[in-house]
Amino acid sequence: MNAPTDPKMTARNVSVYYGAKQAVKDVSIDVSKEHVTAFIGPSGCGKSTFLRAFNRMNDTISNARVEGEIALDGENIYSSGMDVVQLRARVGMVFQKPNPFPKSIYENVAYGPRIHGLAAGKTDLDAIVEKSLKRAGLWEEVKDRLKESGTALSGGQQQRLCIARAIAVDPEVILMDEPASALDPIATAKIEELIHELRGRYAIVIVTHNMQQAARVSQKTAFFHLGELVEYGDTSDIFTNPKVPRTKDYITGRYG
């Protein structure tokens, strides 16, 4: 496996169980800031479950159990000494359906820094909000209406607001679970361009069921099937000359 040179997060032999059912089977992978990593695969293959293991969101599901080790900067995030709340600030998440808080645009972005004590005062907080909205490519569109409700924005804008919200706590990793699947093509393209701009500053992992999107947006691609990591490699290799027959079948549309 051609692993990236300095991985931000590493997963080793990770398995995730829902009760007796095993959703993720012994997966190992590295994630770094240099490359956007895409997880692709058919529905139910475990890619979203595996993604959620990276910020311990599976903890909220009562019968979920995680085995194996996932490390952030070398530290195992499942060890008893790891503070889950801080982990989730360092490893942010953007969800499939845009879910801004039913608060103002300003409050949406300011909430994270406020609860983690990242801003010294009002001016500091204003600066963080502005920077996050600018980085998410939303500032120009909302700078005159920060007090308006976040839910009044269009779908694509809401999703960018959610990305700004994730960025505001200065994470090291951003996990995206099918971020554009609920959006129209133009909004999707804006999100993809945004991901391109964020690369290098944050380690980004994106789960998508749209192969063309994975091809456009990522540099490394991992193909999942029935809970297993079937193939991992450079995106251009996976899509022009995959090594494993299952990967090829899925990518060329012969699956199912």
Binding site: V85, K97, N99, P102, H116
Partner: protein
């Protein structure tokens, strides 16, 4: 595969169906209207009867004076203040306890046998006849704990026990109806469980909780039986000073006056009913105002 004949949407069979359908729609509208008019009619009848009998009795002495043996001097203020204090105690106890219980059961408690038992118990409590609570109040608060008889404190606690299940049920439903995406979003940004509950879930559940509280409080305000059991039935000549002074409440006062033989109290009874209804309306109105103020659309 056998071929289906193309459907004749304009034929006589279809026309008949259309007519029948329209008739069914009309029938339902008529029935609904009739039901509304019937209930409204009863209510109107009640209000008008009470109004005719009671409005002349809403004099200054009536509204500011306390109970007296002489019907000319009897006033409603004592009972009114008693109701106010009692309901105040009820709210102060039932609301926080009920809301916290609802939040704990929905957000924190594990799903096991014990929580199922608790859930069933609370649901059943809401249906227990109120007089049972009166007996409980008599046995525990008066006889065992020796709290002052006929005080709003005791009345309030008893009614709180009765109202709490209603608030818990309404609160749980309200919390359940907050979409999980909001919780996920908050958790994803690194909020702790407490922060998720207090910053996101409760504000969104508040309208539903307030609705349940309104229902509970309205019931408490109108309760007579349990308060009778704990002694709020005596003749009280002066309004209560605090929650430990003996007092009576509006529904009990109405009950006591309606029992009186003297004709002068008939008018007072109707007037008292009007006051009680007005109090209820005012409380409802306040709660609805609060609910609308906190309602957010997501």
């Amino acid at each position: 595969m056998t071929k289906r004949a193309p459907t004749d949407w304009a034929g006589p069979d279809m026309q008949r169906r259309i007519r029948k359908r329209y008739a069914a729609e009309r029938r339902f509208r008529m029935m609904g209207l009739f039901a509304v008019l019937l209930s409204a009619g009863f209510l109107a009848f009640l209000l008008i009867t009470i109004g005719i009998k009671g409005i002349p009795g809403l004099t200054g002495t009536f509204l500011t004076g306390s109970d007296a043996t002489d019907p000319e001097l009897a006033g409603i203020w004592g009972a009114f203040k008693g109701s106010l204090l009692t309901v105040g105690v009820t709210l102060a106890i039932a609301f926080p306890v009920g809301v916290l219980t609802a939040v704990y059961l929905e957000e924190y408690a594990p799903r096991n046998r014990w929580t199922d038992v608790i859930e069933v118990s609370i649901n059943n409590l809401a249906a227990v006849p109120s007089i049972i609570f009166g007996l409980l109040g008599l046995a525990v608060f008066l006889n065992f704990m020796h709290l002052p008889r006929s005080a709003p404190l005791v009345g309030g606690i008893t009614l709180a026990l009765m109202t709490m299940p209603v608030i818990v049920i309404a609160g749980r439903n309200a919390v359940k109806s907050v979409p999980p995406s909001i919780r996920d979003a908050a958790l994803g940004v690194g909020a702790s469980r407490v922060q998720v509950v207090f910053h996101h879930v409760l504000p969104l559940a508040l309208p539903g909780i307030l609705t349940g509280t309104i229902i509970g409080m309205a019931r408490a305000l109108g309760e007579t039986a349990p308060l009778l059991m704990i002694g709020m039935r005596a003749f009280i000549a002066s309004p209560p000073g605090g929650i430990t002074d003996p007092a009576t409440v509006l529904p009990v006062q109405i009950f006591l006056w309606s029992d009186e033989v003297s004709r002068g109290f008939v008018e007072k009874t109707s007037a008292a009913i009007i006051v009680l209804l007005a109090f209820l309306l005012a409380m409802n109105g306040l709660a609805i105002y609060l609910r609308n103020k906190f309602e957010r659309r997501w």
